[in-house]
Subunit: 332 residues, 2 copies
């Protein structure tokens, strides 16, 4: 967010205050990755809407097809975090005229590609005109409440784990924004993590089905922010013992004289899952999901997040992903 206006968190806080019905509180809070509507006590409708906006979310070098695919990935990633298969999608497009056939073709190709990847068909949508391209992807699915992994379930004694390494997307975004083609060629995985992200749907379903996971969140708002959300909603402290930084991020950071930990912690649109698991079940779960990386532990506390190195314990700030602008090297 820019200027003197409200930040996204504050907007959500205000909206939540208005819409939360004291007597008809929805079974998943406004703070969770998805919304839930209890059709029966044992059968929930799961819904998520996530919008991608051209002016803030499409960096140079990303095609419309890639952007449209990514809009779907973002929504699917929230389903992955809760362990719910999306059953279908609706797409709402606000397009900037003049609208060329190739534009519609690219958008529909990207959406179609993602809908195949994650086995959820588009069953409807809406189109309109706007001065800014907005792709709103709405997903729906069905779940037994017992298998839905919430953000507020972390318990002291849990292990914190993630499904992959961090820092690629914030580094890749810097490369795209710099329009430095040599760097883009040198670090293809970093760039690809921005233009062709992957939602961890299969792993998310496996984690939820294990019934071993206490809490889960998708990391699209950044590593640090995701830790803070689990800490705040579960009313615990999170202690990070190891920041899972991707090797290419270390190399890129060294070359650019950047702090690799910063790139990993305060990036975003990195569609890994961050989960907490009872310590005694972690080995068994990692046997089933080998990509899980143990990064820390949950302690009793009041919503704080710490980084524990050999020398010291420091607080990790609740800073998050604040769209492209805050990552634009030109404005830093």
């Amino acid at each position: 967010m820019t200027g003197t206006g409200l930040g996204e968190r504050e907007i959500i806080r205000q909206l939540t205050k208005r819409f939360q019905q004291p007597r008809q509180r929805p079974p998943l809070g406004f703070d969770d990755d998805v919304s839930a509507y209890p059709m029966t006590r044992r059968h929930w409708l799961i819904l998520k809407t996530d919008s991608l906006v051209a002016s803030t979310d499409i960096p140079p070098g990303m095609s419309l097809k890639q952007a449209a695919r990514k809009a779907v990935v973002a929504t699917v990633s929230d389903f992955a975090a809760k362990g719910v298969q999306p059953a279908g999608l609706l797409i709402s497009l606000a397009l900037r005229p003049p609208i060329r056939p190739s534009m519609v073709n690219e958008l529909s190709s990207g959406i179609y590609e993602a809908s195949r990847e994650y086995h959820c068909n588009v069953i409807g949508g809406d189109t309109g005109e706007s001065t800014d391209l907005v792709i709103d992807c709405i997903g729906f699915g069905f779940a037994d409440p017992e298998t839905v992994v919430r953000r507020d379930g972390a318990k002291p004694g849990d292990v914190i784990a993630v499904t992959g390494e961090f820092g690629r997307s914030s580094s890749g975004l810097r490369i795209l924004l710099s329009k430095n083609k040599t760097q883009a060629r040198r670090f293809p995985r970093l760039v690809r993590s921005v233009i062709h992200p992957i939602a961890q749907l299969e792993i998310g379903l496996k984690l939820a089905n294990s019934m071993m996971v206490h809490s889960s969140i998708d990391s699209s708002d950044g590593f640090a922010w995701s830790l803070h959300e689990i800490a705040r909603l579960s009313k615990v402290n999170m202690v990070v013992e190891r920041i899972p930084i991707a090797q290419e991020v270390e190399t890129y950071a060294e070359q650019q004289k950047l702090n690799p930990e910063e790139l990993a912690m305060y990036g975003g649109e990195e569609y890994e899952l961050l989960v907490t698991i009872p310590r005694e079940e972690f080995s068994e779960l990692r046997r089933r999901v080998p990509s899980l990386i143990r990064i820390g532990r949950v302690e009793s506390g009041h919503g704080n997040v710490f980084l524990q190195s050999r020398e010291e314990v420091t607080k990790i700030e609740p800073r998050g992903w604040e769209h492209m602008r805050s990552h634009d090297p030109r404005t830093r």
Copy 2:
């Protein structure tokens, strides 16, 4: 749509072609007011997304609160046309920074007001930044497929009826765009139809529950366009014997030297329902829903729409509501 780009109909046609699965055709076409997902054979999930965009949908004189309320009304109106009570809403907001607290307050007040009017709580949503304000309102509900009134069910011999008179919103929009305060004071109902529209949810539910209605559409794309949609999808001809023009529209048109029939036929965002009913059941249904106005008949044919006056039969063009621009008197 403007310039040399694609029109909205053509965009929808292209998207439909891409997303319609030949073997998993959704039970309601992409062409209907809402989308449906069969949870079981006798229990459908009904979904609708409809977005309101500031640059094309908010005329001068309309507050943000009114715009937000209208975004909900538009979605609810589609549920009304199918005879389905919306169970809840998700709201996706793309906001233009800097975002003032009063802006968030107005938007949430308008959404909240409409959610109370139509008995459907907001259970989630998303916010982001954009250069254009976009309010995407997503509704969901549940229905027995037998009670869902489709667009493609009109039969030769049916009576065509509407739930109210037409022309108010196109006239009201002209008044707002002209910024003529004297006119706005003189024609309060015309202005009000734009800034405080009403979705015919109660009547839509009553019509569907009667099991007498063959086809139904909400008239938000305009009177003429709605007739054409029923004609095209039901593969029949529609013969209009009487254009239901509101009295204030006649007065306004006379004063402005405009054609009142044009105002009524080619307006839009007029949230009445247009339905077809077997001739022999019409009197009984009007007893139950006294606001129904009989305006014509369905004949066998190939998707044409005619206007029959005492003197002659003329074709009604398939022109529709093309957003604010086409109604702006300055560009006419």
